[in-house]
Amino acid sequence: MNTVIFRTVAPFLTALMTLFSIFVLLRGHNEPGGGFIGGLIAVSAFAIYGIAYGVAGVRRALHVHPMSIAASGLLLAVASVLPSLFLGQPTMTSQWLEFSLFGTHIALSTPMFFDIGVYLVVVGAITSIALSLEERESD
């Protein structure tokens, strides 16, 4: 699999797929998509990068350990559950923050942050499994 063509294409492919994964994550609130499927797309991107450049290359490119990504996602997801505590509402009640920025209507909500948390958990957890499987392949 380590051909020149593949090694040249892999970084672009990875970048495009990661971008697409974020697109899928963000459109997930009202249309098909969401954190889980977006996360899986991102993991496939890293897996492709791993096939081309090896597991060590992926770990270098990610900077942080995949499990730390998963943990920060969990942290974000739990944090997004909490705001309704201060408003006297049950857990996970969605809260919205709407404002205009440079003439664009922006609606931020706790479900979105929860979904980002899910995305990070999936990216972290499945990447670490995929990397450990790829590592075993090579030895």
Partner: protein, 525 residues
């Protein structure tokens, strides 16, 4: 889109009344464990910090559970529905006295495990993530005890299952991988059967909310399919609880992992299965329970007997304790089989007793095994001279496990025997007593061989070895983890009123679901 702009009536779909902050106590155990687990996972390279983060989080969860227990005691069954959706559409968290009490004792056990692990888990195993896994395990267990939605219960089962896999292979020895293969395959099979039963139940009643199921299942015209579903639930949860014909994964795996892991498994995992059995067969499908009564009785008797006979036949102390766990499961099932008010109280109390006593036994014998370098009953010995205090402590725990007064195992057995006699099931009472007698033989032999028989000891191949004689000072982590448990065992033995009245409330809520349903829907059924 924000809700204010809608033209439909929000109150028809969502809760608009303000929620009291103390109702948040319902989700605090799960949220806190998740937070703690995430923080511990991020900082897992910092090996010295790990126990502090883990123990702090566990202590906070324990305090939250105490507060929740107090809340339930004062205000009755408490419900909170996720995302403000009206039940049965939102996922409900419902704490009844049984669930709250189980969650409290589970967090006590996990806290003691966290303390014990601080002294026994090696740095590289901390880096591998012992504390995050322990916290996630407790997250799954507390979620299972507090949820009021049957599919959500399945999700919490999976959370605790995947964390238990992580804990089981911690250390990565051959033995552990062997045990993990059997444990994980059979447990996954059990949870899949649970999912299967849930799917069929959903097809029948069209709801997943437990209170809603309890109402709808009772009024279903054709009860036949419900019986099949109840049977499937029984099989699935009996597998999780290690009841007789499906118990073989437990003795095959519980002695393989690190001793702290065995301890927390023995304390928590099988009890989750028992909890689910009580919840589903008594609260949700009482008709199914009546129909299967003979079967449950038979399973209870065989579980008690195989457990205690297995315990008598084991050389490895850890496997002996594993079989004692199974015996306890049999006793709890006996309470389920009788299903009278006081018998269920006995089963709930027995589960609480079994949580703390079994964990304590693994702590004590794990420490002894580490000192002596072996877990074989033929090679251990002379511990009385090395640590009289340890001898006293383990005698308390062993007597409690055998059901002798004045320790925690005594009262539940009294209730079970009484309940069985009241219902005219004298032979079931007889088997409970017979099991106790056999357990006394088993624990008596265990204690005599490990503590009293001292000096040189002949091992399997006939050679004699001299056992060390010097006094052993207990490390602080062992003190701090074993003594709360022993104190609790003695306290329940001497002052059973508090726990018993609480378990009784739990039993009443199970047998008459109206309080449970009222808490979820706001009106009596």
């Amino acid at each position: 889109m924000s809700l204010e702009k809608t033209s439909v009536d929000i109150a028809a779909a969502m809760i608009t009344d303000p929620t009291a902050a103390k109702d948040w106590l319902l989700v605090t155990p799960t949220l806190l464990t998740m937070l703690g687990g995430a923080i511990a996972l991020i900082t897992r390279k910092n090996v010295r910090l790990q126990p502090w983060i883990g123990i702090t989080a566990l202590a906070l969860v324990f305090c939250a559970n105490i507060a929740l227990l107090n809340h339930v005691l004062n205000d009755g069954v408490v419900t909170m529905v996720m995302g403000s959706w009206l039940p049965p559409f939102g996922i409900a968290f419902t704490a009844d006295p049984m669930g709250a009490m189980f969650a409290t004792f589970a967090s006590l056990v996990a806290l003691c495990t966290g303390i014990y692990a601080a002294g026994s888990i090696r740095p590289e195993e901390r880096r591998y993530g012992f504390y995050p896994f322990l916290l996630m395990l407790l997250c799954g267990v507390s979620g299972a005890f507090l949820t009021g939605d049957i599919f959500n219960l399945y999700v919490w089962f999976e959370v605790l299952l995947i964390s238990s896999f992580g804990l089981l292979v911690l250390g990565n020895k051959k033995r552990q991988i062997d045990g993990a293969v059997k444990y994980s395959l059979l447990n996954l099979l059990g949870t899949t059967l649970f999912l299967l039963a849930t799917a069929l139940l959903y097809g029948l009643v069209g709801t997943l909310n437990m209170a809603d199921i309890a109402m709808k299942a009772a009024h279903l015209e054709n009860q036949g399919p419900l019986m099949g579903v109840a049977l499937l639930f029984f099989l699935a949860f009996a597998m999780k609880a290690a009841a007789f014909p499906v118990n073989f994964w437990l003795p095959a795996s519980y002695h393989t992992p690190r001793i702290v892991v065995s301890a927390v498994f023995a304390g928590l995992l099988t009890k989750v299965g028992v909890y689910a059995l009580l919840r589903v067969l008594l609260l949700l499908l009482p008709a199914g329970h009546n129909w299967m009564n003979t079967l449950i009785t038979l399973v209870a008797i065989l579980t008690m007997l195989t457990g205690v006979m297995g315990a008598l036949a084991q050389t490895d102390v850890r496997r002996t304790i594993g079989y004692l766990v199974i015996t306890g499961i049999g006793s709890m099932l006996a309470g389920l089989a009788v299903a009278s008010e006081w018998a269920v109280t006995g089963a709930i109390m027995y589960a609480v007793h079994s949580m703390i006593a079994m964990t304590g036994m693994f702590f004590v014998f794990g420490y002894i095994g580490k000192l002596q370098g072996t877990f074989s009953l033929r090679e251990m010995g002379g511990m009385y001279r090395r640590s009289p205090i340890l001898a006293a402590v383990s005698l308390v725990l062993l007597f409690a496990a055998a059901g002798l007064p004045p320790f925690s195992g005594f009262w539940p057995k009294v209730l079970l025997v009484e309940g069985a006699l009241d219902k005219g099931m004298g032979w079931l009472a007889g088997v409970v007593l017979l099991t106790s007698i056999l357990s006394i033989i088993c624990v008596g032999r265990l204690w005599i061989y490990v503590f009293l028989r001292g000096g040189s000891q002949s091992i399997a191949d006939g050679t004699m070895v001299a056992l060390p004689q010097e006094k052993q000072k207990l490390p602080a982590t062992v003190w701090l983890s074993v003594f709360p448990i022993v104190l609790m065992v003695v306290y329940i033995g001497l002052q059973p009123d508090a726990v018993m009245s609480f378990a009784h409330k739990g039993a009443l809520t199970l047998l008459d679901p109206s309080a449970y349903v009222e808490s979820v829907f706001g009106v009596a059924p």
